[in-house]
Point group: C2
Chain length 254, copies 2
């Protein structure tokens, strides 16, 4: 399928590369900033523009991959005719596209993306939604060309998936940061935590996380919990966080 990529962020970059490598021509790349458009277009052997009115009608699908609040603005800047238009957002309902397009849907690759780290799309869940069965079928064929993990997910579910991702990816990464900071205080490098972090993630492949909870809180080991709270006495916000998550874990015991 001929693709027009609207946006040049982390997701647009990784998705564009995955599609391009599977043989889908990227006809045009649009970005608000000309340099970003140029940079990504060069990687994708594509034309580029930072003027939305210069997007042509040669593509089969128009993938809008911009920040959530910019989606509607971008939609409103031009007419889309009968072209198939999708967004890639977790928290934006599909119906936002309805006033602007005849044929529309959502193409949401569920992963954390950075520009620098290349992502293998093979196992990434791609969450699809479309306004007609025909459009869903088009999206399914496109998604299957880059991933073996296609999911039909409505807007309400997708929003919840995105919320779950904030806890299990964004907040988890912040906890990694907290660990790094705690070690730094005592002159210990972050490396020592890496095997633990990888094993903790690997465990949930075959186990429900609730069933493999370890640590002082799940043993209701007040001695250790109090020692840890004392260690955090100069960081009251970390103390509160420690107490709060420990309390939640203790509540799950019964």
């Amino acid at each position: 399928m001929k693709v027009c990529l609207i946006g040049s962020g982390n997701l647009a970059t990784q998705l564009g590369m995955a599609l391009y490598e599977k043989g889908h021509p990227i006809v045009q790349v649009w970005s608000r900033t000309a340099e970003n458009a140029v940079e990504l277009a060069m990687r994708l052997n594509s034309q580029y523009t930072n003027d939305i009115s210069l997007i042509n009608y040669e593509s089969d699908i128009y993938i809008i991959s911009v920040t959530d609040k910019a989606i509607e603005q971008v939609l409103s800047w031009r007419s889309w005719g009968s072209k198939l238009v999708v967004h890639t957002s977790g928290s934006t309902p599909m119906e936002l596209l309805s006033p602007y397009c005849e044929n529309f849907g959502v193409f949401y690759p569920f992963q954390t993306f950075s520009k620098a780290k290349k992502i293998d799309f093979d196992q990434i869940p791609i969450c699809l939604e479309a306004n007609t069965p025909q459009n869903l079928e088009i999206l399914r064929v496109l998604a299957q060309s880059i991933s073996n993990n296609i999911q039909l997910i409505n807007s309400e579910q997708r929003q919840q998936i995105h919320l779950a991702a904030v806890f299990t990816c964004n907040f988890v990464n912040h906890l990694y940061s907290i660990g790094e900071g705690l070690l730094r205080e005592k002159g210990i490098g972050f490396d020592i935590l890496k095997p633990l972090i990888l094993e903790t993630a690997a465990k949930i492949v075959d186990h429900s996380p609730k069933s493999v909870q370890t640590g002082p809180a799940i043993r209701n080991d007040k001695d250790i919990i109090n020692k840890h709270l004392a260690l955090l006495e100069n960081q009251p916000d970390l103390q509160v966080l420690y107490q709060q998550i420990s309390d939640r874990i203790i509540q799950t015991i019964n």
Copy 2:
């Protein structure tokens, strides 16, 4: 080295198996509960007892791997002569052993253990501390027989490492649980989160977590944050947790 294993929990089980497989005879296994002692002793081709006075002096090292609060009790139940005695606890100072033993130290494999999931010790950091350079050398030789990652860590540092582990392993796993629960509410299986969880962990192998933080909070995207808080309106404790961690992430922006 001939090993006496005092304890039969997750860590004792995995450590005993690793030592046994590298050719160290496990002379005796002690556990408070006879069945646990029998079960582990059978895996380790060892004698077993649930009577601490029946532990003999034939081993070269006595590894106490019981809950933190039981360590001193176990130490006090018998005399240890000049035998080398270590504990495997993150949060217990080495000096706790001093009144009871002549030769002592700490042998702390820094990983999360369960009985069922076999652990490859190869890359696991083993944190060592001993009361003399000679004892440290003995521990180092033993540790190197099962791992390539030996760390000299004093009691204060080890305590901090354990605290960091609570954030990056125990609390992280609880966030995985929260994600699982959020998806269940909308009839979505946990599988969809697995690629994201694994990628989030894999990222920190080559990047400082602070440098790869993603999500609405690091973009200070108030629209999405407010949407998510609204989705959590029936779970006020999750709302508080969401707000609190988001605020911490937002504070790191500048």
